[in-house]
């Protein structure tokens, strides 16, 4: 059997398992909570309120649409942080399954990212509601938001695969990645305006942060402004490259995972 045919057969056979794993992630996240999936809308709303009060006052951002600005950044950032962290832990979490039965292992990080992405899409409802309330009305440009959102997905999968591989061999990666995620958060211009930094001589900490590029473009689409093509290109290249490296590294090492679990 050729490699391609074998691959196709695996996809058909394990497509169902993939769906089950995604559904399982969503179901178990809010199991036994009274509000269930509504939490993925309340949570960003609450943080938005706190961030608006604190940073709106601190930085004197009195604009009416500042909460929308914050929410865009927060939602994108938290998807990235949650999905990559879930992917990082996914192999160890499914250790008992991996040890006993053959399953294509890339399903674990991939489904972790996917279920978080589904929850993220649900939480976008909050963004639209808040936008409408605060008078940020959608323009046709809103459809362009699909581009940064797609880049975000590819980037999360790529980085997730990379982390999942490294995480099997080194447990420290979980803690290291937590620290790193915090650094990423502060350099994403979630609760401040980036102009001052972009004009300074340390502009690189934003410009070369692919997640900032995604957030910035996503925000532009929501506010009906034009995207920055440079940011789009850079983040897309970064996402593609991370997927390539992540997938290759994963494929190269997946047979050794079981020896380290």
């Amino acid at each position: 059997m050729s490699v391609v045919a074998q691959f196709k057969q695996e996809i058909r056979k394990y497509g169902n398992l993939f769906r089950e794993l995604v559904v399982k992630g969503i179901r178990l996240k809010y199991r036994r909570s009274y509000l269930g999936v509504v939490w993925s809308m309340i949570e960003p709303l609450l943080t938005m309120i706190v961030l608006t009060i604190v940073f709106g006052t601190l930085l004197n951002h009195k604009e009416r649409e500042f909460p929308v600005y914050i929410l865009c950044g927060r939602l994108v950032y938290s998807l990235f942080s949650q999905s990559t962290t879930a992917a990082l832990k996914s192999i160890r979490q499914n250790e008992s399954m991996i040890k006993k039965v053959y399953v294509p292992k890339f399903l674990y990080p991939l489904s972790s990212v996917c279920f978080n992405y589904v929850l993220f899409l649900i939480s976008l409802v909050v963004l639209f509601a808040v936008s409408l309330v605060l008078g940020v009305y959608p323009t046709l440009r809103i459809f362009l938001a699909l581009l940064p959102l797609f880049v975000l997905f590819v980037m999360s999968v790529g980085v997730g695969m990379l982390l999942a591989t490294v995480g099997v061999f080194f447990r420290d990666m979980e803690y290291l990645w937590n620290v790193f995620l915090m650094l990423i958060m502060y350099t994403c211009a979630i609760f401040y305006y980036p102009e001052k930094i972009l004009a300074s001589n340390v502009s690189w900490i934003l410009k070369y942060n692919p997640l900032f590029c995604v957030i910035s473009n996503f925000r532009s689409c929501i506010f009906g402004e034009a995207m920055d093509p440079g940011f789009l290109l850079y983040s897309a290249c970064f996402a593609g490259l991370s997927l390539l490296i992540g997938a290759l590294l994963f494929a190269k090492n997946e047979n050794r995972f079981i020896l380290y679990l």
């Binding site: 056979k13 169902n16 398992l17 499914n94 008992s96 006993k100 039965v101 080194f170």
Partner: protein, 244 residues
């Protein structure tokens, strides 16, 4: 007869590091001090055999002989370090019952999840759902999360799922020793029924009588090597001599 499993010169090597190095710091320190030594260990070496459709092979050997490793290699959990494994059809590995159960999921949800793990569609599992529940005798607990099940109940559910689907190859690794006497009897009958349908079985057991009842062929593993393979009567007699 049609061959469904063929192993050729299969070897499985593990690196038994003296201590498990799994933190970055430890790794760096050991790397610098050149202490990253691994002890090579062949859990299986030079294993070659073939099973025809309908064969029921008993796998005998002392603890640590490589029986479970061999089962995992056939199931595809381990990729062998050397040699090739050919197998045809769906494999139901009952290596530990309930592989891939999720403790937070209910029994009902786990039936579908487990089916998916073995590669079956939701529709296929729905058709068999009732008979799985019935056979496991867990109808009253099917909507309870699995973490509240006793280990015997989990094993019963796992066994019911794995035997209700129709695998071509069934791998049994000491699973008949679970459950109470009544369920044990029932599960053994179920396996014998399945064997009549022509499923190929690899059967690991320390119970010679059981092997004699169930199998038509047997093999003896010793320190990762296959020292005998063939007719059940002859091989079990030799094993009895060896362990006497």
């Amino acid at each position: 007869m049609e061959e469904v499993i063929r192993l050729e010169k299969v070897g499985m090597q593990f690196n038994l590091s003296k201590e498990k190095v799994d933190s970055l710091k430890e790794y760096a320190i050991k790397l610098v001090k050149r202490e990253l030594r691994f002890q090579e260990f062949w859990a299986l070496k030079d294993i070659s055999f073939a099973a025809e459709k309908g064969d029921r092979i008993g796998v005998l050997g002392l603890n640590g002989a490589g029986k479970s490793t061999l089962m995992k290699v056939v199931a595809g959990v381990f990729r062998p370090t050397e040699g090739t494994v050919m197998k045809k059809g769906v494999i139901a590995p009952l290596i530990e019952l309930g592989a891939g159960f999720d403790m937070q999921y209910t029994g009902a949800e786990n039936i579908y999840l487990n089916g998916a793990v073995l590669g079956y569609s939701r529709a296929y599992m729905r058709e068999r759902y009732d008979s799985i529940v019935e056979f496991s005798e867990l109808a009253d607990f099917i909507d309870v999360p699995l973490k509240n099940y006793s280990s015997g109940m989990r094993a019963r559910l796992g066994f019911s799922i794995a035997t209700m689907i129709q695998p071509d190859i069934l791998i049994l690794d000491e699973v008949l020793s679970v459950g109470d006497a009544k369920f044990k009897k029932k599960s053994e009958k179920r396996l014998l029924d399945m064997m009549d349908t022509g499923v190929t079985v690899l059967f690991v057991s320390h119970n010679l009588d059981q092997v004699k009842r169930v199998c038509n062929k047997a093999m003896i593993l010793d320190h990762g090597r296959m020292i005998d393979f063939g007719d059940m009567e002859r091989v079990t007699a030799r094993y009895k001599e060896m362990t006497a």
